[in-house]
Symmetry: C3
Subunit: 253 residues, 3 copies
Amino acid sequence: MNYTLTQLPDRTEKPRQSGLTMVMDKGLSLREVEDFLSTSAGHSDIVKLGWATSFVTPNLKDKIAIYQSAGIPVYFGGTLFEAFVVRNQFDEYRKLLDKYGLEHAEVSDGSIDMNQDDKCNYIRTLATQVTVLSEVGSKDEAKIIPPYKWIQLMKSELQAGAWKVIGEAREGGTVGLFRASGEVRQGLVEEILTQVPFESILWEAPQKEQQVWFVKLLGANVNLGNIAPHEVIPLETIRLGLRGDTFSHFLDK
Amino acid sequence: MNYTLTQLPDRTEKPRQSGLTMVMDKGLSLREVEDFLSTSAGHSDIVKLGWATSFVTPNLKDKIAIYQSAGIPVYFGGTLFEAFVVRNQFDEYRKLLDKYGLEHAEVSDGSIDMNQDDKCNYIRTLATQVTVLSEVGSKDEAKIIPPYKWIQLMKSELQAGAWKVIGEAREGGTVGLFRASGEVRQGLVEEILTQVPFESILWEAPQKEQQVWFVKLLGANVNLGNIAPHEVIPLETIRLGLRGDTFSHFLDK
Amino acid sequence: MNYTLTQLPDRTEKPRQSGLTMVMDKGLSLREVEDFLSTSAGHSDIVKLGWATSFVTPNLKDKIAIYQSAGIPVYFGGTLFEAFVVRNQFDEYRKLLDKYGLEHAEVSDGSIDMNQDDKCNYIRTLATQVTVLSEVGSKDEAKIIPPYKWIQLMKSELQAGAWKVIGEAREGGTVGLFRASGEVRQGLVEEILTQVPFESILWEAPQKEQQVWFVKLLGANVNLGNIAPHEVIPLETIRLGLRGDTFSHFLDK
């Protein structure tokens, strides 16, 4: 840090289990990745190559290598996993992870129907190969999952071997955890936390208001994801109470 | 492509007449242009230097050269054409195109009143010099053009020598083809397509929801424009059914 | 400029007292700063390192040096001043300004309660060390300041030694001068201008609609701030009547 301020919340340090920032790369160039790392590597824990952008991204191997050499693991968005599964190409997906030297993978069912046993089997299988993040929640606005069901899904996926369960939002932040307005479904989040450990959940929160909401409710070291590369530094200030929105939150009363 | 997936829609290949992606550059630096090309040249067909940003952009000649040497033609936004015309400087505009070695130009009347004969004359004149894109639709929310009139305008402009007619939107995507809410005027688009060839129209669709709407209605190879540089890769995944929004659209039923 | 157009409004030249563009940097990398300067240095007057982003930005000294060597002064966002004050670390703040060779500073009370005498004392003290910008308006949507009070605050802060007073908005542009909808509080702006000199005020206007509104009301050379780096060239075209939104504004009738 560039100077000293008192009354800042304690931040966990990398590698960490809580306080994770997961960044969404949806097509950065190699030089943009370098730029990003030069400012934000210290505040970024893991990078997702959004949905199936990896399919059309040139220099994919080089890009992954740049992130990895900065100590930041990379994984493919869950939509890519689903694209392989829906085409009966799951074995090819497993080979793909090895081909690109990935040590993390996401299991999700945001765009396809998958029964929970099958999903947990995918988690179990992939967990023998990589560290698994599994995502709960649909990308479809019409599919409302009641709170008890969120809890049941999260628990069974952690039990199947998921390292973290992800609370689904879309890039724009309007489904799953969020109402169409972008507002957080507060009761849902609170009920989930009565039964699932805080550090096991990574909340997708692409919009600033959502990040503020989670930091105010759950503190500086909440796990947050789908953060745009240019928003990692702003998010870090929100976590530390150094932006207007959370300015008073961590001060001594 | 970095790996193989079945059941993808056929994409046309460059140079193409349909499936065009027109990108809007509103002031990139030379290095940002290089970055953009390193990821997206293969998915970009033509670049517009937005409205009159070329007036205040340094290194204009170098910038155009970088795009052209990547095989991507560049043209000035229609507002610049209008700025010259409204000042009775049309001859100077023609010289400007040559000075910068441009092979495309846009004719539009989004910000000025111009009768249709005059507009078609501008198209005819410019078509002797460059490839012309002509834009239909006003930037003024109050000016509603009925469908039969859109069709008549598009037909006469194509007949006057326009290579493509552009369905006007603003950078933010809220007039012309779109309601103030950003929603597409579906009846308008469908009626236009009964009379004007699909491949002759380039639809401005700067917002993701609009891109999704056009791909679902008209397929992977619809011509889309005003795409922000960082949205070219995401758009390509929408075209291919590899983003949540169009995930099921191209799959075998 | 790359070509000649008649009927353009006169723009003041750097260094200027009116027509200022203040840019918000919320975490650019060194190379991104270079890119920004290569396109926009000529149209940028001063750069703010947004709120307390300087706390977590690596290479801070180098970044400031790059801006300064391009002739563009840099200052820390007002929230950082407040973060030091609320912790009784004001003397350290003054040393920090010297350590980083800054010649400008912002005094604000957007996130803390400060009585007006104290605020003016901070302005007076800092004005012996640097050029002071002081900000009026709360970041809290619930705190509505009536127009007579805005005027009184602005006058007393200018009298205390502020070079410019800033009309507060948030990065997203939704409080202070703006309603929750982002709409400008027109009556407020007009009443302020009956009593406070035009060139002494710098209006925060991060959104395009706000920039257009101020240029239409106050002309090409209104002072505008919180402009995103990639929006400086677009703003310059708005100032010059070379974007659709202000296209007709400066033309001879």
